[in-house]
Amino acid sequence: MPIFSFLAFPKTDMKDRLIADLSAMAYCEIKPSGNKDVLILLTDTPDEEANKNLIDAIKALNSLQSLSMAFGHTD
């Protein structure tokens, strides 16, 4: 049951889009910054495979510039 947190950086002028994209994805919780172009992304997936698929899908988002891991836990 992996839990990870990331800083997600949107492409220029695509912060709202990134928020919308991530909000629509299963296993994701987000905390957007009110004053900077970055948001905190928390992923809580049932297993390693779901985690890998989710990260691949997030990385494929057009609104995402980069993803930087802050914390990782796997049981």
Partner: protein, 771 residues
């Protein structure tokens, strides 16, 4: 609201991300969410010192159920006032790596086989006994660490020195701060800094001598920057051999040739005298002048022996000695423009400026490490800028308890918890407190670290117990010592938490309890002792290192010396240990107080901590209200005449580059813990070699190209890093040593300071080839 363990982990994950975001974007806010709200009533917060560096930040670890789930800076700790760095924030994750040793292993038919720990301890005791019977008491050795908790080191010393009767006790702190010790002892007669971190809030000028505090002591660096921000005149001068993150933040960065700090320090003193900026009153009352031996060698040969002498000289002789070190002459050696040396001298010499000098490995890992420590003290003594708030020559330690466990307990071959083995009175005191015959304590030191591993290679040592350190990554000229440890007839015991190249060579692995899985104490760079309670259970059969030692000692017949119960042994050891320091010069705080407070500084006299030693205004051990360097028989601090002498190995035609090694912010030492923390591993996933862009161009390499680094001793292939976080000058490369996949110490040289016996990891000669 009920919080599950999973909720706590999620909270921790969110908090970690919030911390990372706040580091990148100070003042960041999150719409409708305050990271500080992430708390739950069922988390129990307890204080502990940080597991990692010698800064000794106070942390609060949040425990839910039986698991540590969160970390924050301890606002009650005067060290960090609630701050911590990225390693501290993620420190609890070191407890939960998947490959923790939770059982003992014994090598059988070449393979390490899981074994019940009591059986493994039986074997350790039996092998120690047989080694002593066959080859004598000096055939067994223990090699510990500045990451040992104080009771670990104390028990090891009592067991080996007091009970077995061998001085084969060393610790990896020999590799990181032995020159700071001999620097203090030769100048002041007593070890450890006279000042404290409050110097950071009071200084007008900081001079950092070859240390990258922004990465190695980041919380202290932030404190320095905070002082600078609050008072516009504060300056940071970075004296360095390579451009670093600290250089970026400094007001002025001065690049010098490796080893030439000796010439620069002497030139600063020359200039201070020339400009009549000497504090005459201070030196006439509190300083004496001394000359030692010169051309003292480098220790690269087995059985190297050296002992210094101290010839008394006068101020005139000192002035004459300094004539060789005009700023112009020092410029030729150091490459530092004479104008910059004069500028440095003017800062030190200005009576209206308070100056703090900081150093760590650049000055200590140096074949003239003792000398350069002496020479920086000389500057502060000549100007009288010492032992008062903001005026402070300050040697910072690398490891969390290099001071507490190695320097104070004395876990080095020549040392005892109080004094040295060569002194009868010190042996008497130890024998009395330890309840052993005085004749048990050998008056002769045996092997310092490098020589101890040489003795293992030669076969004089046949049994070695290694606790809390990873010498098969960190020993210089590593190949010789790894091959030596693997030789037939050697028995190696390793107390560890994770697999490492050192546990790979073990005959027995004992699983250790880590940090907050056991009770203990650390002592940081400013003489602060910090207690930690056991906060979470030990995994599997993991056992506290102190208890492992006690178990083996009892099996060898020393029940009388180790009578304590598992419930109170840490408290009992503390109470016994502090009897060694029961004087106003070094009194330690009682157990009960240490449990309550976020650290207490020694000397702890009449209920008060001593902030500045040797100054009667602050230090009750001084006879009067003035300065008293009571560590020396003449009650004076000693200025030493120490010349410039070259490094043991310098670049030449065949090996034209200097190799410099060190650390990075994210990783702790050999990375055996921090490489198991996902965010830290991801931040710096592997080691690399920093090369100057021009040198890279000539070599035909770009970022991430493979480069072969070759010395007379070995080679390692790794990726190039050009214009990275650090930038060496032309003719130098820098390699962080945290990555066991790239054993850079197969390339380094085992030359050391003949006085401190500390190796120089900052200077040897290599050539580069595109791989």
């Amino acid at each position: 609201m009920t919080f599950t363990r999973r909720d706590f982990i999620k909270n921790m994950a969110l908090k970690s991300a919030a911390v990372a975001a706040a580091t990148m974007f100070p003042g960041i806010s999150f719409s409708g969410w305050n990271p500080a709200d992430l708390s739950a009533d069922s988390i129990v917060w307890s204080k502990t010192p940080c597991r990692f560096c010698g800064t000794g930040c106070g942390l609060l670890v949040g425990v839910s159920g039986e698991k540590a789930v969160a970390v924050k800076g301890d606002p009650n700790s005067s060290v960090n006032k609630g701050l911590c760095c990225v390693k501290g924030y993620h420190s609890i994750q070191i407890l939960y790596g998947k490959d923790r040793f939770v059982t003992a292993y014994v090598r059988k038919d070449g393979n390490l086989v899981p074994t019940p720990i009591q059986e493994a301890l039986d074997l350790v005791a039996a092998r120690m006994k047989s080694s002593i019977e066959k080859n004598g008491k000096n055939s067994v050795a223990i090699y510990g660490s500045g990451q040992w908790s104080i009771p670990d080191g104390y028990t090891a010393s009592k067991f080996f020195k007091g009970c077995i009767g061998t001085n084969n006790v060393e610790a990896n702190a020999r590799l990181c701060m032995a020159s700071a010790v001999t620097g203090c002892l030769t100048t002041f007669g007593l070890d450890e800094p006279m000042g404290c971190y409050e110097d950071i809030d009071n200084a007008d000028v900081f001079v950092t001598w070859g240390n990258n505090m922004a990465e190695m002591h980041p919380v202290l660096f932030s404190r320095m920057l905070a002082n600078k921000k609050s008072k516009t005149h504060v300056q940071i001068i970075d004296l360095t051999t390579r451009f670093t993150r600290s250089s970026q933040a400094a007001d002025k960065s001065i690049l010098f040739n490796p080893q030439s700090d000796l010439a620069i320090a002497n030139a600063i003193c020359y200039e201070i005298i020339k400009n009549n900026e000497v504090n005459q009153e201070f030196i006439s009352s509190h300083v004496s002048f001394h000359k030692g031996k010169t051309n003292i060698g480098y220790g690269t040969e087995d059985h190297f022996a050296f002992s210094d002498t101290a010839e008394s000289v006068d101020f005139e002789a000192y002035k004459t000695f300094l004539k060789d070190y005009t700023p112009e002459a020092a410029e030729k050696i150091s490459g530092v423009p004479a104008a910059d040396i004069k500028y440095l001298a003017s800062l030190y010499g200005d009576p209206d400026k308070k100056v703090t000098s900081f150093w760590t490995m650049g000055m200590n890992q140096h074949t003239r490490g003792t000398w350069i420590n002496n020479l920086v003290y000389n500057i502060h003594l000549l100007t009288g800028k010492i032992c008062e708030p903001g005026n402070s020559p300050f040697s910072l330690t690398g490891q969390p308890s290099a001071c507490g466990t190695v320097r104070e307990v004395g876990t080095m071959t020549h040392k005892l918890p109080h004094g040295v083995v060569t002194e009868e009175a010190d042996r008497k005191m130890a024998a009395k407190i330890w309840d052993v015959p005085e004749s048990n304590i050998d008056p002769k030191p045996t092997y310092h670290t490098v020589e101890m591993f040489r003795a293992l290679d030669r076969g004089e040592i046949t049994f070695m117990w290694i606790q809390v350190t990873n010498p098969m990554v960190t020993m210089p000229n590593l190949r010789r010592y790894r091959d030596g440890a693997k030789k037939e007839g050697r028995f190696i015991v390793v107390s560890e938490i994770y697999p490492t190249p050192t546990s790979d060579v073990a005959d027995v692995i004992l699983p250790s309890a880590l940090w907050v899985e056991r009770e203990g104490f650390f002592g940081n760079s400013e003489r602060r002792t910090q207690h930690n309670a056991q906060l979470v259970p030990k995994p599997g059969e993991a056992m506290c290192n102190t208890w492992q030692l006690i178990q083996v000692a009892r099996r060898m017949g020393f029940e009388k010396q180790f009578p304590w119960t598992q419930e109170t042994y840490i408290e009992d050891i503390w109470n016994e240990y502090i009897r060694f320091h029961d004087s106003p010069k070094h009194r330690m705080a009682p157990y009960k107080l240490l449990k309550e407070r976020s650290g207490v500084q020694w000397p702890f006299v009449d209920g008060k901590e001593t902030r500045w030693r040797y100054n009667g205004k602050y230090d009750p051990a001084c006879g009067s209200n003035t300065f008293d360097f009571y560590g020396k028989p003449d009650h004076r601090a000693w200025i030493w005449l120490r010349p410039y002498e070259p490094a043991a190995e310098s670049p030449d035609k065949e090996y034209p580059f200097w190799l410099n090694t060190g650390r990075v912010l994210e990783h702790w030492h050999t990375g055996s813990m921090t490489r198991r923390i996902p965010i830290l591993h991801k931040a710096v996933p592997e080691s690399y070699v920093e090369i100057h862009p021009e040198d890279a161009k000539l070599l035909g390499v770009v970022n991430e190209s493979k480069v072969n680094i070759i010395s007379k001793r070995g080679s390692v292939v790794m990726k190039a890093c050009i214009n990275g976080r650090g930038n060496p000058p032309r003719g130098m490369v820098f390699v962080p040593f945290f990555d066991e996949n790239y054993l850079i110490n197969e390339v380094t040289l085992d030359a050391f300071c003949p006085i401190s016996k500390q190796p120089d990891y900052k200077k040897c000669a290599v050539r580069l080839e595109k791989a």
